[in-house]
Each structure stands twice: as structure tokens, then as C-alpha cells.
């Protein structure tokens, strides 16, 4: 019998590195977005989901434009950018700059941030480590999901999209590859990554998998009664 590839739960944590660069208005923000490192853009966009955040924003740039500058229209534009649509950081960086340029055509003199409330450009160092939990079937997976914490969800649900591409996360890939459950995999892939915090993503996945495990149990039940 072929051995089932277990799902190994991992987690990542980040340590924040300062670049010492800051922007006090949208012009400076745009200019610095065009010159800071890829690691810096990565941190302020993809890693936004790792933080406790306000749902209406999807990256630090949009968050700052909305909360500190109160430039709502700009924050809406920036928050509508889906970082997983781009093949690399350069394309994402260009899209951020385009959106800011478009906004500046309409509002060429945006306000300045208050002193101390500037946008500070940071980078991160990420450490990935196994959390010591493995699952070999869906029931074990379901139990494990109830135990794991939200940074583990970030690693497998968000960070995985950058590693695997195509809007695919580790959970749905394992479920499809190992058990051939394409429908369940698609249901997990259809969870909107921007409309939930990490705890809600976890609950959504638990609900989908629980439903599947329950259905599988009912099938066995019917088999027994027909005997």
C-alpha cells in the first residue's frame, strides 16, 4: 500500500528591520516605493495579513493613506490591488506607482501626515519552523486545525500562494494531491483571502473540512445499512 504523504504544519515569524526611510506625503510615498528593496515591498503588501489589521485595507500603503492621511479614494485604489495577481515584485511595485500617479492626476496636492505619523519603510527577516504537528488523514487534519495558531494559517494559506503561485494554498493542494478531493480543494480556494482575518480563515477551513469528514462518515453508514 502506498504511504500517504502527511501534512506537516509549519509556522513563520518575522522580525522587523527598519530601513530608516520615511514618507510624509503621497509624493514621497510614490518616490520611495520606486526605490526601496523588494523585501520592503513584500513586507508592506504580502505580510500585511500576518498583522492584526482593519479589514477594509489589504496592504500597509492603503492603510496609511486611509488612516493617517485620510485620503480615502487613494486607500480604496491601493487596497483593491491583489498582490497574488503579479508574477513578481517589480510588477506589483509598478502597479502601486501607477495607482498613486492616477490619483495624483485628480488630486495633485494631497495633505501631509502629522509629525510622527509618517510612513516608515520596513523589511523583515522571516524564520520558518515546524510546529511539531503532522496529519495523515482528514480527521487528523481537522483536529490539528483546531490546535494550530494563526501564524500557521498565514504560512500555509497566504505565504504558500507566493511559493506555489496560481492562487493555490498548501491546504487545498495537499487535499487534492493526496486524497483527490478536488471539490473540497476548490471550496477552500474560493475563500476570499482579503475578506477575513486569520482566525476567520481558520474557521472557514475547519467548517469545509468538517462537512467533508461528516459526509464521508455518512457514506460508510449507508453502506452498512444496505448490507
Amino acid at each position: 500500500m502506498e504511504e500517504i504523504m502527511p501534512f506537516e504544519f509549519k509556522q513563520c515569524i518575522s522580525i522587523l528591520k527598519a530601513t530608516g526611510k520615511k514618507a510624509k506625503n503621497v509624493h514621497e510615498l510614490r518616490d520611495l516605493i520606486s526605490t526601496v528593496s523588494d523585501d520592503c515591498i513584500f513586507h508592506h503588501t504580502y505580510q500585511y495579513f500576518l498583522k492584526g489589521h482593519i479589514l477594509e485595507y489589504t496592504n500597509d500603503f492603503g492603510h496609511w493613506a486611509g488612516e493617517s492621511l485620510e485620503e480615502r479614494a487613494l486607500s480604496e485604489r491601493l487596497s483593491n490591488i491583489d498582490p497574488y495577481e503579479f508574477k513578481d515584485i517589480t510588477d506589483l511595485r509598478n502597479e502601486l506607482i501607477n495607482e498613486i500617479n492616477e490619483y495624483l492626476k485628480m488630486f495633485p496636492e494631497p495633505r501631509e501626515a502629522m509629525h510622527g505619523d509618517e510612513f516608515y519603510f520596513n523589511e523583515t527577516v522571516t524564520l520558518i519552523f515546524p510546529v511539531g504537528i503532522r496529519a495523515r488523514n482528514l480527521a487528523e487534519f481537522l483536529t490539528a486545525m483546531r490546535y494550530i495558531n494563526t501564524p500557521t494559517i498565514y504560512y500555509h494559506f497566504y505565504e504558500a500562494r507566493i511559493r506555489l503561485g496560481g492562487g493555490i494554498d498548501d491546504f487545498s493542494r495537499w487535499i487534492e494531491d493526496v486524497f483527490g478531493k478536488k471539490e473540497l480543494a476548490n471550496r477552500i480556494r474560493s475563500i476570499d483571502p482579503f475578506m477575513h482575518n486569520l482566525e476567520e480563515i481558520k474557521q472557514n477551513i475547519i467548517e469545509e473540512v468538517e462537512e467533508e469528514v461528516r459526509k464521508d462518515m455518512e457514506v460508510i453508514d449507508r453502506c452498512l445499512t444496505s448490507m
Binding site: Q11, I13, I15, L16, K17, A18, T19, G20, K21, K22, D39, G52, G116, E118, Y120, N122, E123, T124, V125, T126, L127, I128, F129, V131, G132, N149, P151, T152
Partner: protein
């Protein structure tokens, strides 16, 4: 000691600490600061060193020695870095260096990683023999006096990395700069769980009624903590809401202005029997803990602040906190989620009224705040960040490290 944090700190922090402990097993980690007791740095080091040792790391803590002139100079440097106008002459800098030179002769500076806390021992880097040297700045340097900052930068640049508490404190330096927030210790006397009896003991001592709404601010009597503003807010609240106000703080012996501010506060209070000014002697940690656990709403209405860890201390007790949007307070209070950020007396009064009249919202915010502190501001997180960045510096060049 490590076991004390099981069930309190996040499991993943404890797990990562153990993994990093294995990676850095038997390596030496030297901390140097300028005082063995008093102040947040010494407080954290007292707790951190035994935990590091338990993780298998050879941790050592040394303190530099200096005379009154040296500490007078370093106090001036400290104040100048926080934005005060101070005159630090070349002669003073030379003396600062000379005292560090003498300490370098006395101390064993050999270690795999050396963490130097604050400006007092910063020149020790000139006597670096081996290992990774990291400078840890605990001060608010967002708006420093330029000449003093520039002079100190000459030393900073010789380190392998620097650590600041808040991103806006970091400068453009040619070395790696990390952001590591300070933390609270959940099992210390100031933060541990208390029995009802222990709480009642404190309330009896200060004659505080338990059956009334209590607004509390714990802080030194310092204009930047805005005690008069707190009283003004309380008076607005009092119009429709019965409550008492407690202003609790230790008289600071090193701050000549505190007596003046305290007198101003007393005068402003006049004869209001519902305002309690509590002058707590040093080591009143258990009393502060009890007061925070009894309060209905806790304020930290600072106009200027370093990090303001009293906010995390209050949140850890499950209380909704109203804080001035200054220094590190906005990092701890997510507005509307773990508390409220305010910019005025009127704003403070409004939020106090809102919390007093919505016990459910108060409870929800308090619970969210406690979880926020658990994830972000406990000592275990700070230790794992120190070890992580040490491990990163040993594996330099990789921004993603798989353990």
C-alpha cells in the same frame, strides 16, 4: 522558570525559543547596561538571564561602573536624545569614553553575542575583541538633539546591528536596524494573577470603595503624563456618571519637577473627596497590580511618551485602556479594538463615558486587549526576537531562514 510561562505565553513562542536554544546551544550571550536595579532595562534583564540559561545559552549580565560625573554626563546625553536642549562638550564626551575604557579593562568582553543597552556603555564597542556586537536603544530618539545624536552615531556605526523599540526611532544607519518592542513579564509581581484577598488588602490600605466606578491612571507626576488633563476629563464625565478618580504614582527622586507638578495637581483637585492621589513608594508592584485589576477604565493620557508599557500592563488585566496617541501607545492600542486613542481632554471624557455606559463593549475590548498583549508584548516574544536576530546575524544574507 521557563515552565512558568507554559499556558500563559503563546505555544509557538515557547516552541521557537526551544528550537533557537538548540541552535545557539552553549553559545555565550553577554548583556551590558549601567544599573543592576531600577528602571525597565534592569527589570527585564533580571528575568531574561535565567530564562536564557534554561534554554542552554551561556548568558551573562555585566554592569559598567562610573562616578557621579559620568552619570551626570550620560543623563544629559539621554535628555538630549529625547529632544531636550543640553550642552554636551567635547571634554564630557572624552570623559564618557575614558570611563568606558576603564570598564573595558575590568570586564570580560568575550562572548559570541554582546548586547549593549543604551548610550552609557555604547563606547565599549571600541574595545571589541570578538563576537557580534549589537546596540540596544531603549530611548525615544524620534526627535533628538542633532549634535549629540551625531556624536553617538560614530559609535553605533561600529556595531554589527542596532535595535530600536519603535520604527520611527530608527535612523538611516549603514548597519542592520531591528525593531523590537519592550515587553511585560506576566508572572512578575506587577502582572501576576491576584487573589480577591490580596486585592482587598490594597483597597483597604488606600480606602478605595469597591462598589463605585473607578477611573485610574498610573504614572509619575510629570506634565507629559497630563494629570491635570485627566482631572478635567473626569469632571466632564462626573456630570452624568458617578465615579471616582485615582491618580497613582511614585514620587521620582531623580526628577526635581515632580514635586511642582504634584502641588499643581493637589491645588487643582481642591477638596474633591472622590479624587484619590496615591503616592506609592518604590516596589509597590502588588498594589499597582491590585489597583489595575479593580479599575473600571484605565487611562494613560500621555502627551509625550517613550513606549508606555503601563498600557500593556493594564490591557493584560483585561481592562479597556484610553491612551494619548503618543510614542509607543498607538502600537499597543488598536483604536476601537483594544482600546481608544485620544487627542484631547474632551475625547478622553467621551471615551470614558462610552466605556462606563457600555459594560459589554468594555469587557470585549478588555478581552481583545489581553490577547493582543499575549501575542505581542510578553517577555517571551522579546527573548525570541533577540535570539532570532542573533541567529539571523550568524546566517547573514538570508532574509528567509528555515529552522
Amino acid at each position: 522558570m521557563f515552565n512558568q510561562y507554559v499556558g500563559i505565553a503563546p505555544k509557538s513562542d515557547l516552541l521557537l525559543l526551544q528550537i533557537l536554544g538548540e541552535k545557539l546551544h552553549k553559545k555565550s550571550f553577554l548583556h551590558i547596561n549601567s544599573t543592576r536595579e531600577g528602571g525597565g532595562v534592569a527589570e527585564i534583564l533580571q528575568r531574561m538571564i535565567p530564562i536564557l540559561e534554561e534554554l542552554g545559552i551561556k548568558a551573562r549580565w555585566e554592569v559598567i561602573e562610573g562616578d557621579a560625573r559620568f552619570f551626570d554626563i550620560t543623563k544629559k546625553v539621554h535628555n538630549a536624545l529625547q529632544g531636550n536642549i543640553e550642552k554636551v562638550t567635547e571634554d564630557m564626551w572624552q570623559y564618557h569614553f575614558e570611563i568606558n575604557r576603564r570598564n573595558a579593562e575590568r570586564l570580560n568582553l568575550e562572548a559570541d553575542a554582546i548586547l549593549i543597552h543604551d548610550p552609557q556603555p555604547a563606547p565599549l564597542v571600541e574595545f571589541k575583541k570578538s563576537g557580534l556586537w549589537i546596540w540596544r536603544c531603549h530611548i525615544d530618539v524620534s526627535n533628538p538633539q542633532k549634535e549629540v545624536c551625531d556624536y553617538l552615531t560614530r559609535y553605533c556605526e561600529k556595531y554589527d546591528a542596532a535595535i530600536f523599540s519603535v520604527a520611527k526611532f530608527a535612523k538611516a544607519l549603514p548597519i542592520d536596524e531591528f525593531i523590537v518592542s519592550p515587553s511585560i513579564d506576566p508572572v512578575s509581581e506587577k502582572n501576576r494573577e491576584l487573589t480577591d484577598g490580596e486585592i482587598q488588602e490594597t483597597l483597604n490600605k488606600f480606602k478605595i470603595p469597591k462598589d463605585r466606578t473607578i477611573i485610574l491612571q498610573v504614572s509619575r507626576f510629570d506634565r507629559f503624563k497630563d494629570p491635570i488633563g485627566v482631572i478635567k476629563a473626569y469632571r466632564i464625565v462626573k456630570k452624568y456618571n458617578d465615579c471616582i478618580l485615582i491618580l497613582a504614582g511614585s514620587p521620582a527622586t531623580d526628577d526635581p519637577e515632580s514635586e511642582t507638578v504634584l502641588n499643581e495637581v493637589r491645588e487643582y483637585v481642591a477638596n474633591d473627596p472622590d479624587i484619590h492621589i496615591l503616592l506609592l513608594p518604590p516596589f509597590s508592584d502588588k498594589d499597582i497590580n491590585a489597583l489595575q485589576r479593580t479599575a473600571t477604565v484605565i487611562l494613560q493620557k500621555s502627551l509625550k511618551e517613550g513606549f508606555g508599557l503601563t498600557v500593556s500592563e493594564a490591557m493584560w488585566k483585561g481592562k479597556p485602556v484610553i491612551g494619548g496617541a503618543a510614542g509607543g501607545i498607538p502600537l499597543q492600542i488598536v483604536h476601537g479594538l483594544t482600546g481608544f486613542l485620544v487627542h484631547s481632554v474632551e475625547g478622553s471624557a467621551f471615551r470614558i463615558r462610552q466605556l462606563i455606559n457600555n459594560p459589554d463593549m468594555s469587557r470585549r475590548m478588555g478581552e481583545t486587549g489581553r490577547e493582543y498583549v499575549r501575542k505581542n508584548f510578553l517577555i517571551t516574544r522579546q527573548i525570541r526576537e533577540y535570539l532570532s536576530l542573533w541567529y539571523y546575524l550568524e546566517n547573514k544574507g538570508k532574509s528567509i531562514l528555515e529552522l
